[in-house]
Amino acid sequence: ADDELTINVVASMSGAFAQFGEEAEKGARLAIETAGTAGGMKLKLNLIDTESNAGKAARKVKSKLGEEGPGLYLGSTLSSTALAVGAEIHSAGGFYINGSGADEITGKKCNASMFRWSAPTYGAVNASLRPVLDAHPEIKSAYTVTPQYVFGEAMLSNTKAVLEERGLTLAGNSYHSLKDKEFSGIIAQAQAANPDLLVLLNFSSQAAASIQQAINFGLKDRMKILLVWSSGLDTMQSLGAEVSEGIYFGAQYWHEEEAPANLELVKLTKDKLGEAPTYPMAHYYQMTKLIIDAANELGTGDPAKIKAHISGKSYEGITGTESVSAENNQVEKNFYLLLGKAEGDKADEYDFADVVAKAKYFQSAADTGCKLN
């Protein structure tokens, strides 16, 4: 109907990444229900379950585009899904924003219809590794654990660049495969290299498993540990305070951020859901809100107009001031470095960490290899 504006939310509701989808949906729903309408139209949420499978996601989005023409889409934390879905939406002329880890989205595979809210690997590594090194001048060498695919490679090369610039040595690197959950062999390699800092470049359940096992092996007493691409609150919840204490976590979002937009979000989640926002929840909320605000400002939900409007826009977001690069549609926002705290020091059940630093590091569009079309 003409008086309705549908926002399509792509999320992994079922399958191996269900833990993201569940939170993500809450975030999007929160934004939509709070706003109710946008640009005079009633907002409607259409949830697309990726089933944690990029092929399924692409097919479902394709079906939707076929049925309803170009529309507004957001979501997906998984690189493969975001890339595939993004290509479909672009060729149909829709609008798409996501929070995935794939640098190609605003790099080599960028296109005019596709935006990324999450900071790229470059930003994540610089914003988390540099402050750790600043805080611990005694660190002379680092060992990296890298998942062997595009995302991991990007994380690794950024890490190497920082280490090189600081004149530190890379004591070694272990790659691992998708779905591996046993890291004891790799941890033994890391032990043998005896570095001052262990940098984990994996994410999600693999990150949790590798940290947990590193700590079993007593590495926390022997070196500093940094998990660059954590999911923030839910990573810490699944590890528990005992494990996360003393560990550095890089995060796209932290609910204790004092930015006004975030205070508003925290209040909303507390009132409506009785919990603190996690990263998936928060960034789906932010992405949805971005679309709603644009529709309100434009008075239309036309994807082409929304793209043009958002590109180059600057606004107050949940991580402070966020701005969208007109060159590659990358949202430039803060990235956080957190330090896990002891159970006894927690102010409330969500207070797992202190913010050590937050910063924005972004490459120029040319450096990312993006040419918008």
């Binding site: 509701m13 079922s14 399958g15 269900a18 989808g21 569940e22 949830l47 379950d49 089933e51 499978n53 990029a54 092929g55 692409a58 097919r59 479902k60 394709k62 079906s63 939707k64 076929g66 049925e67 690189s79 493969s80 890339l83 595939a84 290509a87 479909e88 060729s91 794939a102 190609e104 595979k109 062997q148 695919y149 595009v150 995302f151 495969s177 998708l178």
Partner: protein
């Protein structure tokens, strides 16, 4: 329904199915996916339903077809027919290799070998990231075109035209495979399923037949993979994972073993049901699991047999079955 009917009946029936699907379904894309998985389920049925070989590695052939077509079209774009031929060849060759090793063992060891090969394929495709795109999958797959020199070129760029193309290939493959199961080769396969030792004893080189049926199964499944990749313009790594094998197997069993129409209905019902369920409830896989249990427990012949029984009951026909409760 399918026992040795003349070929035009099958042509007609499958054409009707292909024509009706997009009318009753919300989108051409879903209908396309259904026909694609119907082909994959047919490939699986050749092995399990007709020969009694439970392959847990069908995803390997599906994925290989997708990569073969994807890579070929990205790098050379040779057009529709060469692309399909290449994927048939890839699927068949790969299946012969897997078959050659796997059929040396029987029972659960056979199942595990097919699974092991598929897993190997999965991790190899994952590690071969420069070629396959690894975890991100193979992006920007080009849809092959069909050129009639000096006359016209079909691009299949729209969902509708691509569906028509898929339907044509589906009908051809279905009819060819129906022919195969009704042929002398098909009769030997059924004999092998029933009593392998006896088949060998009366003079059939069972191993060769098993490899042959693997080749056909691999080829058909690879064609399905090819259409999947060209439909999405993307070949995801998940094509090769265990879940894909499971899904193909489930469609095949849901529809009914030993009936190609069953495989088609299996694909239709599975995909439509999962789409609807996934929209209703994030924990829909619980219902899927229950469905799987119920079907296997109470409709072991799958839907095709269940409907046949229901039809004959409706007709009130009293097929005499003398105490056959084996």
């Amino acid at each position: 329904m399918s026992a040795n009917q003349p070929i035009y009946i099958h042509l007609l029936l499958t054409a009707v199915i292909a024509a009706v699907l997009p009318i009753v379904l919300p989108s051409y894309v879903l209908a396309t996916e259904i026909l694609i998985f119907a082909m994959a389920a047919i490939g699986c049925n050749l092995l399990l339903g007709y020969t009694g070989l439970l392959s847990f590695g069908q995803a390997l052939f599906f994925g290989a077809g997708a990569y073969a077509a994807g890579l070929l079209s990205i790098h050379y774009n040779p057009g529709l027919v060469p692309t399909i031929l290449a994927s048939i060849l890839t699927g068949a060759v790969l299946a012969v290799v897997v078959g050659f090793f796997a059929i040396r063992r029987k029972g659960i060891y056979f199942v595990m070998l097919t699974l092991a090969f598929a897993q190997l394929g999965y991790y190899v495709a994952f590690l071969a990231e420069p070629i396959t795109g690894g975890e991100d999958g193979l992006l920007d797959v080009v849809r092959p075109t069909f050129t009639i020199p000096f006359v016209t070129e079909f691009k299949f760029a729209t969902d509708t035209s691509f569906y028509i193309l898929t339907s044509i290939v589906f009908v051809l493959i279905f009819v060819a495979m129906q022919r195969l199961v009704d042929s002398p080769l098909g009769s030997v396969l059924k004999a092998i399923k029933q009593n392998e030792a006896r088949a060998e004893a009366i003079g059939y080189q069972v191993k060769l037949y098993k490899i042959a049926v693997f080749a056909f199964s691999g080829a058909v499944t690879a064609v399905a993979g090819t259409f999947y990749a060209t439909m999405l313009r993307f070949a995801p790594l998940s094509n090769i994972d265990i879940e894909t094998s499971e899904v193909i197997l489930f469609m095949c069993v849901l529809g009914g073993l030993g009936s190609l129409y069953g495989s088609v209905f299996g694909a239709i019902i599975f995909l439509v049901a999962t789409d609807i369920l996934a929209d209703l409830w994030p924990r829909w896989m619980l219902l899927l699991g229950l469905l799987l249990i119920i079907v296997m427990l109470y409709l072991p012949g799958g839907l095709s047999e269940a409907t046949q029984k229901a039809i004959s009951k409706l007709r009130g026909s009293d097929i005499k079955k003398e105490g056959s409760h084996a």
